[in-house]
Symmetry: C2
Subunit: 335 residues, 2 copies
C-alpha cells in the first residue's frame, strides 16, 4: 500500500489513525508508552500483528525516557486483552532487554516490525496456492496491511494470489460495530484495484446460499493449542455458514498469534467493549435510551470448522492439538 500502518521516526511512533479511515489519512504521533497504550486501546491502531508491532515501539519510546520501564510493560500489556501478539511482542522485548539492555530495544522493535512484513509475505505465498483462479473470496473485519506491518494476513493471501496472476475478487462483510470491513478492507482493496463488494454481516449467508462465494479467509487474534480461533466477532457465524455450504474456511495468521498456553478456545479472554459502539456509530446514536447492550469484540471458532490455518511455515489442514504442536515446533527449530 501507498500508506503505511505505522512509521518509526527514531523519536516518535507515527500511527495511521484508523478511526478516521477512509475519509481522512492522518497520523497520530506517540512519544511515550502511555501514548501508545492509549492508541491501542482506542483503536487508532488495531489488528493483532499491528498491535504487537506498536507495543514493541512503545517500549522502544520509553527506553529513552527516565522512569520505570517495567511500568511501561504493564501499561501496554493491559491495553487490550485478546490479541496474543501483544504479549508475544512484549515478551520478545523483555528478552532483548535482558540480553542487550535498554539500548537494544529500538533495534528489537524494528526487527519485530520487519519480521512481521516478511512473515506476511510468506503467509501470502502459502495461502495463494489454495486460491483458485477467479475465486470470490469472502473476508471479515480487516486482516490486511492495516492490521499488520504490511501486506496483511488474510488480505495478504488475496494480494499474493493476484500477484501470481490469478483473477480474484473480494466480498467484504462490513463488520459491525466498528466497520473495519466497510472502512478498511474495502479501502485497501479499492487502492489495490482488486474488485470488492461490500455487504452487511447479515448478508453473508444469503450470498453463500446463492453460490456467490467460493472460499472464506479471515485473520485471527489468538489461536489456542487445539486450533480453536479467536477472531473478530462474527467469524464463528461465518465458519458455521461455510460448513453448511461446503465452502473452505481458512484462517491466515502468523505463528505469533498462537498461544500454546491456552488449551482451547473457551479459555481465551474475550474483550467486551463500550456500549456506544453498538447503540450507534461515532457519536450518532440510533438506539433508544433504556436498552441494555452486549459488545463482545471477538468470538471463538472451533478448530473443527477450520479447513486450514495458513501460517508463514505452511498450511495446517484440519487443525488439531497434535498438528498445532508440530507446527510450532517447526518454528522453534527454525524450519
Amino acid at each position: 500500500m501507498a500508506v503505511d500502518t505505522m512509521r518509526w521516526t527514531g523519536k516518535t511512533l507515527e500511527l495511521l489513525d484508523q478511526r478516521a479511515l477512509p475519509q481522512k489519512i492522518e497520523y497520530l504521533s506517540c512519544r511515550t508508552a502511555a501514548d501508545t497504550a492509549r492508541a491501542i486501546r482506542e483503536m487508532v491502531v488495531r489488528g493483532a500483528p499491528a498491535i504487537g508491532c506498536a507495543a514493541a515501539f512503545g517500549i522502544a519510546l520509553e527506553s529513552r525516557r527516565p522512569g520505570d520501564l517495567e511500568a511501561a510493560f504493564e501499561l501496554l500489556a493491559h491495553s487490550r486483552p485478546t490479541a496474543v501478539n501483544l504479549f508475544w511482542a512484549l515478551e520478545r522485548m523483555r528478552q532483548a532487554l535482558a540480553r542487550g539492555g535498554a539500548s537494544s530495544l529500538e533495534n528489537e522493535a524494528l526487527a519485530i516490525y520487519r519480521d512481521d512484513l516478511a512473515v506476511n509475505r510468506a503467509i501470502g505465498a502459502h495461502g495463494a496456492e489454495l486460491v483458485p483462479d477467479r475465486a470470490r473470496i469472502m473476508t471479515h473485519c480487516n486482516a490486511g496491511a492495516l492490521a499488520t506491518a504490511g501486506h496483511g494476513t488474510a488480505l495478504g493471501v488475496v494480494r499474493s494470489a493476484r500477484d501470481m496472476g490469478k483473477s480474484v475478487s473480494v466480498v467484504a462483510n462490513e463488520t459491525r460495530p466498528y466497520l473495519q470491513g466497510a472502512r478498511l478492507t474495502a479501502w485497501e482493496m479499492v487502492q489495490e484495484r482488486i474488485p470488492v463488494t461490500l455487504v452487511t454481516d447479515s448478508m453473508a449467508g444469503f450470498l453463500m446460499s446463492r453460490g456467490e462465494v467460493d472460499l472464506l479467509i479471515v485473520g485471527a487474534d489468538r489461536i489456542a493449542a487445539n486450533g480453536d480461533v479467536a477472531n473478530k466477532i462474527g467469524t464463528y457465524t461465518l465458519a458455521v455458514l461455510a460448513q453448511r455450504h461446503g465452502l473452505p474456511f481458512y484462517v491466515a495468521a502468523p505463528l505469533s498469534t498462537f498461544d500454546p498456553n491456552i488449551a482451547q478456545g473457551d479459555s481465551i479472554p474475550i474483550e467486551e467493549r463500550a456500549a456506544d459502539e453498538v447503540t450507534g456509530y461515532r457519536g450518532s446514536r440510533w438506539a433508544p435510551d433504556g436498552v441494555a447492550v452486549r459488545n463482545p469484540a471477538f468470538d471463538i471458532t472451533p478448530a473443527e470448522l477450520v479447513t486450514g490455518l495458513i501460517t508463514e511455515v505452511g498450511v495446517l489442514r484440519t487443525p488439531s492439538r497434535g498438528g498445532v504442536a508440530a507446527l510450532l515446533s517447526r518454528s522453534r527449530s527454525g524450519a
Copy 2:
C-alpha cells in the same frame, strides 16, 4: 403500545414515520394511493402486515377521488415486491370492489386493519404457550406492533407471554442495514418495560454459543407452499445457528403471509435495495468510493430449519407442504 403504527382519519391515512424512530414521533399524512405507495417504498411504514393494511387504506383514499382506481391498484402492487400481504390485501380490496362497489372500500380497509389486530392477538396466544418462563428470546428486525396493525407477530408472542405472567427478556439483533432491531424492536420493548439487550447481527452466534439464548422468534414476509420462509436479511443465518445449537427457531406470521402459489422459497422475489443503505446510514457514508455493493433486503430460510410456524389458527410444527396445505384449508373452512 401508546403509539399507533397508522391512523385512519376518514380523510387521510396518518402513518407513523418509522424512518425517524426512535428519535422522533412524527406522522406522515397520505391523501392518495400515490402518497401511500411512496410511503411504503420509502419505508415510512414497513413490516409485511402493516404494508398490507396501509395499501388497503391507500385504495380507500383513492376510492373517493376522481380517476382510475385500477391505476391505484397497480401503483400499490409495485411499491415493494417481497411481502405477500401487500398483494393479499389488494386482492381483498378488489373482491370488495367487485362485491360492493367503491363505497364499500373504506369499510373493507378498516376490516383488514381490525382483522390484523385480532390475528396478532391470536398468534400471540398460540405462541405464548411455547415460551418457557424466564425465556431469553432472540429476535431479528422488527416483527412488532410497528410491523402490524398492533401487538405484533414475533413481538406479539413476547407480549402475550408476558401478559400470561411469564418473565421474558429479549435479545434484539440490530438488523443492518436499516436497523429495525436497534431502532424499532428496542424501542417497543423499552416502552413495554420488557428487558431488551441490543447486539449487532454478528454477535448472535456468540451469544448462542455461550448459552445466553433460549429460543428464537422472527416474523415473515412471505411463506412458500412448502414452508420455506422469506424474512429480513440475516434470518437464514440465525436459523442455521439455532440448528447448530439445538435452539427452537419459530416463525410467527398470519395466514395472509402464506403464498400457496409459490412452491418453494427460491422462487420468492427478493428485493434488492439501494447501495447507500450499506455504504453508510442516513446520509452519513463510511465506505470508500469505488466499492461495489449488494443489498438484498430478505433471505430464504428453508422449512427444515423452522421448528414451528406460529399462526392465528395454531402452531404448525416441522412445516411441510402437506402441513401448510392443511393449515390453509383450516383457514378457508373458517376453523
